[in-house]
């Protein structure tokens, strides 16, 4: 409860300072809006459904792009982890490519796919694929070898071995990587959506800029933070808690 009180105090203070700064009118309101304007804008956005539509469209892209990343990343990561040849050749490339900000893929995406859904999807996939791949590779390597041996011993091989043993066995080790991949995908998506009239959250942000409506920009920013927080706090925390319950506190025994 003490923690909650401290937090409430901190955020009230933050909003208070913001309110005061806006009240001082150092900058015109379209450059520095006050909290009230942002709240009103948020309210209006939800009331006329434009925010809901944007969230829906963005989430759909997110799920598609993230799903592709996870599947491809799993194949690549497990491949690199289990083959010395792949590790020596592709391993280094993956690490160096990961240092590339995902927005760098944007010009390429627009050239290849035009101003289409595919271009956004491409940016999302490129933004998260590499971090997912590296997480999968690490997870696969950290996983105790005994599980694979026990699985083979009990007659699992090929795809069955992967699906029923290697994948679940490495899950505790890859879940943080999956979370990171989600965060990267989310960032890439917003930047990808800024390039054209795409109906997503990124485009709402650009629309706010075009209309000189800073309250809308800030409202959308808060929305983006909020969704990121909810996914992290609900989805991934739940997965982690479940894993902990199943495996017990001491992972790997």
């Amino acid at each position: 409860m003490k923690k909650f009180a401290r937090r409430t105090l901190f955020y009230s203070l933050l909003i208070g300072i913001w309110f005061l700064l806006a009240k001082l009118k150092i900058w015109p309101p379209y450059v520095f809006p006050d909290p009230k304007g942002v709240v009103e804008n948020m309210w209006a956005g939800f009331a006329d459904h434009s925010f809901w539509i944007a969230i829906g469209v963005s989430m759909k892209r997110m799920l598609e792009g993230y799903a592709i990343s996870v599947v491809l990343g799993m194949i690549l990561g497990f491949g690199v982890a289990s083959s010395k040849f792949l590790e020596e050749t592709m391993g280094g490339l993956l690490v160096s490519l990961q240092s590339l900000p995902s927005i760098c893929w944007l010009p390429l995406a627009v050239l290849w796919f035009g101003l289409t859904e595919k271009a956004i999807l491409f940016v999302v996939v490129m933004g998260s694929l590499l971090s997912v791949t590296i997480a999968m590779e690490d997870g696969r390597k950290q996983m105790p070898k005994i599980f694979g041996m026990a699985g083979r011993n009990l007659g699992a091989r090929g795809f069955k071995l992967f699906w029923y043993v290697l994948l679940p066995a490495s899950l505790p080790y890859i879940v943080s990587g999956l979370k990171q991949g989600w965060a990267f995908a989310w960032r890439s998506l917003i930047s990808g959506e800024m390039i054209f009239v795409s109906l997503g959250l990124g485009q709402l942000l650009m629309m706010g800029r075009d209309l000189n409506d800073m309250s809308q920009v800030i409202a959308v920013m808060i929305l983006i933070i909020g969704i990121g927080y909810i996914v992290d706090g609900l989805v991934f925390k739940t997965i982690e808690r479940r894993l902990q319950h199943k495996w017990g506190l001491a992972l790997g025994t």
Binding site: F147, M149, A150, A156, W247, G248, T253
Partner: protein, 302 residues
């Protein structure tokens, strides 16, 4: 004691061992005549294994091992740590291949893992993401056995190891001895002909271990499996085995082969067990000293 349901398949060779049926009269039915030249269940023919160490030199782990195990036999392998006895089990399980020589099971060459031989690892390797029942079910699921039969067999084998009420627990919620029994049930559920056990009771407290010895002996008598049991505890080997093979320290060779004809059921504290163990131990001690000398360089250990 509750009457256990009939096992579902597998050859029940308990009848072949007259000595065993004495303490489990419900199981042995008719006594079959022993064939004169029975094919061994497991034959190790001239097995050698060497590998490269980190420093690049080749190390000979197993040196020309010849060993035959009869169907339904309980063979214990003892030796100092590092003599390659665990490695040998991995070879029989088909998880690794020998450098030379071959492993035969029922006169068939072992080239890959198969559910006719199940290895119980020292560290068990239970799957923590599955419940106890699902762990036991796993091998059967891989074999493609129907859900209904799987269910029935999980039930049967969990009863056999006295864990029926823990079917829906996760493995981390169980004690060491219980986990050990889950591993045993999981291995038995695939109905292997040969059970390979790698120091399974080494990490358990004395009471639990005694209890599991009794249970293992009982289950062996009830199911008639061939068991190859690796341990560094000679007493344990004598208490359980029909035969004890003593391994030498690096490279692993069979130094001596002891037939144990003590009546069953045996107990760890039996005088006869202790006496037989003492004989084997004096032979083993030389090997242990060799291994200690290797580990601690030229310091005198004796």
């Amino acid at each position: 004691m509750t009457t256990a349901p009939q096992p579902f398949s597998g050859n029940h060779r308990s009848a072949l061992r007259a000595g065993v049926s004495r303490f489990k009269p419900g199981v042995a039915a008719t006594v079959l005549p022993m064939p004169l030249h029975e094919t061994p269940k497991v034959s190790l023919c001239d097995i050698s294994l060497s590998y490269k160490t980190e420093s690049g030199e080749r190390l000979l782990a197993l040196d020309r091992i010849d060993l035959k195990v009869k169907p339904g036999e309980f063979l214990c392998i003892v030796g100092p740590s590092g003599c390659g006895k665990s490695t040998l089990l991995h070879l029989i399980a088909g998880l690794h291949q020998p450098t030379s020589g071959h492993v035969l099971v029922d006169n068939n060459l072992v080239a890959k893992p198969g559910t006719d031989r199940i290895l119980i690892f020292q560290e068990l390797g239970l799957f923590p993401w599955l419940k106890v029942g699902e762990n036991v079910e796993f091998g059967m699921k891989m074999k493609g056995i129907s859900k209904a039969e799987r269910n029935e067999r999980v039930d049967y084998y969990l009863h056999l190891v006295h864990l029926a009420q823990f079917r829906n627990s996760y493995t981390h919620q169980l004690s060491g001895g219980m986990r050990q029994r889950v591993a045993l049930a999981r291995a038995l559920a695939t109905e292997p002909d040969v059970l390979l056990m790698d120091e399974p009771f080494a990490a358990l407290d004395a009471q639990t271990r005694d209890l599991l010895h009794d249970e293992l002996e009982r289950i062996w008598a009830e199911t008639g499996r061939t068991i190859i049991f690796v341990t560094h505890n000679v007493r344990e080997a004598v208490r359980l085995g029909d035969r004890v093979a003593l391994f030498s320290f690096r490279p692993g060779r069979i130094k001596e082969d002891f037939q144990i004809d003590l009546p069953r059921p045996r107990h760890l504290e039996d005088v006869t067990v202790a006496k037989t163990a003492a004989e084997i131990l004096s032979s083993l001690r030389e090997e242990i000293n060799k291994s200690l000398e290797e580990q601690y360089g030229h310091e005198k250990v004796r």
